[in-house]
Symmetry: C2
Subunit: 465 residues, 2 copies
C-alpha cells in the first residue's frame, strides 16, 4: 500500500502545447488542480496527474485521448473522486480527464423506463431530475458517486438485493477507446443476443479499457408503498440468520443492511440518532401497500424468532430519508471514532449460506485487533465491509489493517466468494485477483487489455497485477 | 442464406488418428453421425462436420480442443441442436464436440439458490431435478435447449420479463479456450467487482471465444401462488397496448406473450385447444396469493379498457402446463400451416414504447406478403417473432422471406432496437451487425475474437461478418 510509485517522464512539451491549444482554460497543469485530481477516499498515497483536461463532450474526451495516444501518455478518467481503492491515482503520471462537467441528463424515456445521461451526472442528481416522473434509479452506493464512475467500478450498494448492480442496470454506453475512437455499445432494447456483450465488458473495467462518455440506464416506477424499519438483535449471528432466511424465502426485500454495535454507536454520535446500541438490521420494503405489508409481516416473524426486538418503522419520506442518510453516513461516522484516522475498508461478498460463518470468524479477527473496526454492509447480497481505522503514517496500523484484510479475503475466497463485492480492484485488490480467478482467467483479462489498449495508456497500473 | 459454403481441406490424418486414440468409440467420422451434427432448426443449408467427439468431461473438451488447435482445425460445440440461426453448422468443416453426454447436475445449493451444471443438461432436466427442492430455474426459451447452448446464445424466452435472460442468471462458468486452456469465470457470490466480466463475455459468444463446460446459475423459490390466464383482444394493437401499460405500471408479471390470430388458429389445430381465434395474450403471475390476486386485478382492468374479453384462468399445475405447452408448441403448430415448409424466423426486440408501432407496421408487411406468416412473442420485453413459412427449395420464397426479415430488422434498428432479441447472430443475422452496433463496435468484437482465438478455430464463420 505504501509502496512508492515509480518515477515517470514529464509530459512531452508538444502534448502540453496541443492540449492547451485545443482546450484553452479547460486544460490545467497547476499544482492545485493536479493535487485535487490525485486523491480519492482511499488510504492509498495520493498521486497527482501531470495535467487535467475538463471535458464537456464525448468529442472532447476523444480528442484528449487521441492526443495522449499520439504521445503515448497515460490517461485517467475522473468522476466524483469517491473511489476507495485508488482507482484514479496517477501512479504512472499522465493526463486526468475530468468528466464532472459532462453532467447533463440527455433524455428520460418515461414510457420505456430508461434514461441516457452523461458520465458526470451523479445518482442524486439523476433522482432529483426524475422526481416528477414517478420513476427512480435504484443503484445507491452511499456516496453521491457519478454514473460513469459507478459503471466503471460495477457499483451496487443498498438496493442491489432487489434491483441488481450496475451490471444489470446499464443498457448501453458510448465509450472512447484507447486511440480516441468512439463506439456505441448495447442499445435501448431490454435484451439482445446480437454479438459480444461489450456493455458488460466496459462495466467494471475501471477506465482501463475505455472511457465511458454516455450511459443508458434502466429506471423503475417509484413503488406505490415504501416502508423502512430498523430492528436490533441480541447478536450479529441472530441478525445474519434473519437475513439468510429472508433471502432464502425469496422475500423481495429492497434493502437489508447490517450495522454492528460499534457502527450503531458511531452513527448515533455522528447523525444524532438514538438507535439501540446493538447489532441492527435496516430494512426497506417496496411494492403495493398489501405486498409491503406482507413482506414486513414475514420478515418481522423471522426477526422475532431470532430474538429481534421491536421494529421501528419509518414510512414518511422524510423519516425514511433520515434513516438512510444515517446508514449512508456510517462510513463517515466511523471515521469520527478516531479523529484524524483514515478508513481501510474491506469489501468481501460470499454465498449467503456462508455469511453467518464468515461474519462470525471475522468478528474474531476484530476482537483480536488493537484497532477500532466497524462492520456493516449489504448483507442481503452476502456483502459486508469492515472499516478499519488507521493512522496511515503509522506503519504498524497499516500492517495490521492489511493483515486483517488478507485474512478476510482469504476466508471469503475459501467460501467461493469474492475479494470485492462492489468497490472494485483499483490498486488495493490486485494481489487477490489470481487467487480469486486463477492465473488462466487473469491471463484472459490481460489479453483483453492488450487487445483494446496495446500501449497500456488507459488508467495503467489498475486492476491487473 | 443459400450461398454455398466454401470447400475446406479434409481433416489431417494424424489428427484423426490422435482423436481416435484418445476417444475411442467416442470419436466418429461416420457420415450418419456427421450429418446428424450438421443441421439445426434453421433454414440454413446443413453443413456436416468432418468428425464428432462425444465429450464427457471438461478434460475431454480441453484435450479435443488442444488437438484441433495443434492441427489448426475448426471446433464446433454442440448441445441440443435447437438453434435457429445456423450456429452449429460446420461451414468451414472441422470437429464437432458433442456435449450432450455432459448432462450431470453437479451441485444444487438450496440455501444459496444456485446450481452448478454441465452444459448438456437441458432446462427441463434441471427443473425436473429441482422438483422437490422448492426452487426452479426460470429461463425458458420454449425448446428444451441445453444450458450451455442457452448461455452461448444469451437465450431468454417467456419468463425473461420478470427473471431476466441468461445474461442475468449465470453466476460463473468453466470455459475451455481456443488452445485448450481451462479457465473459471465468476464465482458463487451474487455480485463482484473483481476485474473484467469474463462470464458476460462468454455468454452470447456462440462458441466463438470458448467452450462452456460448466455453469453456475441462479435459482428462484417456486412462487407460493402461480396463476396463468389467456385473454383475447379485438386487435393486435389493443393487445399490445395492454402489454405496454402493464410494463409501464411496473406490474411484476412473470410472463406476457402475444399470439396473433393465425398463430392461435395453428395452435388450436396442433394442440387441440379451443382458444378464441383472435389476437391473444398469455399471462402468468407469480407471487404470494394476495400479490398474484393484485397483479391479476390490475392487468384485467387494463385489458378490459382495451376491449379485452374475459380472462380464462388456469391455476392448477396441469392446466398451466397445458397452456404453456400450447404456447411453446406455437412454432411447430405454425409449421403445420403449410406442411413440408420450413420456418424462417425473425427475432427483433424494440423499446416498449415503439412496440405497438413496430408490430403495426410489421402487420402491413404480413398483409402484403404471399407467404403464410404468424406473429407471436415475448412482448413484455419488446421482443416478437415472425414465423415465415417457406419452401427452402423455392428461391422466390427465400427471397421474399429475406426481404421481410430485412424490413423488420431495419424498422427495429430505426427504433433503437436489436436484430436479435434472443436467437443469436449465427449465420443469419451477421449482415445486420454493423448497422446495429456501428463499424467501431464490431471492430472491437473482432479484436476480442483475435485476442482469444487468433487462429479463428472456434466456431468460425459465426457472429462476425
Amino acid at each position: 500500500m505504501n509502496q512508492p510509485y515509480l518515477p515517470h517522464l514529464p509530459l512531452p512539451a508538444a502534448l502540453v502545447k496541443e492540449l492547451g491549444q485545443r482546450f484553452g482554460k479547460r486544460f490545467s497543469t497547476s499544482q492545485a488542480v493536479r493535487d485535487q485530481h490525485g486523491r480519492d477516499e482511499s488510504v492509498h498515497p495520493a498521486a497527482a496527474p501531470d495535467a487535467v483536461v475538463f471535458a464537456e463532450s464525448t468529442d472532447d474526451v476523444a480528442e484528449a485521448v487521441r492526443l495522449c495516444h499520439t504521445y503515448r501518455v497515460p490517461i485517467i478518467p475522473f468522476g466524483a473522486g469517491s473511489s476507495v481503492e485508488g482507482h484514479l491515482l496517477a501512479i504512472h503520471g499522465g493526463v486526468n480527464i475530468d468528466l464532472t462537467g459532462m453532467n447533463r441528463i440527455i433524455t428520460v424515456h418515461r414510457e420505456d423506463l430508461d434514461a441516457t445521461v452523461q458520465p458526470g451526472v451523479t445518482r442524486k442528481q439523476l433522482n432529483a431530475e426524475l422526481h416528477d416522473t414517478g420513476l427512480f434509479f435504484p443503484i445507491d452506493p452511499g456516496a453521491d458517486a457519478s454514473m460513469g464512475g459507478m459503471a466503471a467500478t460495477r457499483a451496487s450498494g443498498t438496493n442491489a438485493v432487489r434491483y441488481g448492480t450496475m451490471r444489470e442496470n446499464v443498457l448501453g454506453m458510448t465509450v472512447v477507446l484507447a486511440d480516441g475512437r468512439i463506439i456505441r455499445t448495447g442499445g435501448r432494447a431490454r435484451k439482445s443476443s446480437a454479438g459480444y456483450d461489450l456493455t458488460r465488458l466496459f462495466i467494471g473495467s475501471e477506465g482501463t479499457l475505455g472511457i465511458i462518455t454516455e450511459l443508458t440506464v434502466k429506471l423503475y416506477p417509484v413503488p406505490e408503498a415504501i416502508s423502512s424499519a430498523v430492528c436490533a438483535f441480541p447478536s450479529v449471528d441472530a441478525a445474519v440468520d434473519t437475513v439468510i432466511q429472508t433471502i432464502q424465502l425469496g422475500v423481495p426485500v429492497a434493502r437489508i443492511e447490517l450495522l454492528d454495535t460499534l457502527t450503531i454507536s458511531a452513527v448515533n454520535r455522528y447523525s444524532k440518532t438514538t438507535l439501540k446500541e446493538a447489532p441492527t438490521l435496516f430494512f426497506e420494503f417496496h411494492g403495493s401497500p398489501t405486498s409491503v405489508e406482507e413482506q414486513a409481516t414475514t420478515v418481522q416473524a423471522l426477526a422475532l424468532d431470532q430474538g429481534g426486538m421491536n421494529f421501528e418503522w419509518a414510512t414518511r419520506p422524510e423519516d425514511r430519508s433520515r434513516l438512510w442518510q444515517a446508514r449512508h453516513d456510517a462510513y463517515f461516522a466511523c471515521l469520527q471514532l478516531k479523529p484524524g484516522s483514515r478508513a481501510f475498508p474491506t469489501d468481501v461478498c460470499v454465498p449467503i449460506s456462508r455469511l453467518a460463518e464468515c461474519i462470525h470468524a471475522t468478528n474474531e479477527d476484530i476482537a483480536r485487533s488493537s484497532l477500532p473496526i466497524a462492520l456493516f454492509g449489504h448483507v442481503g447480497d452476502g456483502n459486508f465491509h469492515l472499516v478499519v481505522l488507521i493512522d496511515p503514517a503509522n506503519p504498524q496500523d497499516v500492517t495490521e489493517a492489511e493483515s486483517i484484510n488478507n485474512a478476510v479475503v482469504e476466508r471469503a475466497l475459501s467460501m467461493e466468494g469474492t475479494c470485492t463485492g462492489e468497490h472494485g480492484v483499483g490498486i488495493g485488490k490486485q494481489k487477490f485477483l489470481v487467487a480469486e480467478h486463477g492465473e488462466g482467467a487473469v491471463e484472459v483479462m490481460r489479453a483483453l487489455k492488450r487487445a483494446l489498449d496495446p500501449d497500456n495508456l488507459l488508467n495503467p497500473g489498475k486492476i491487473l497485477p
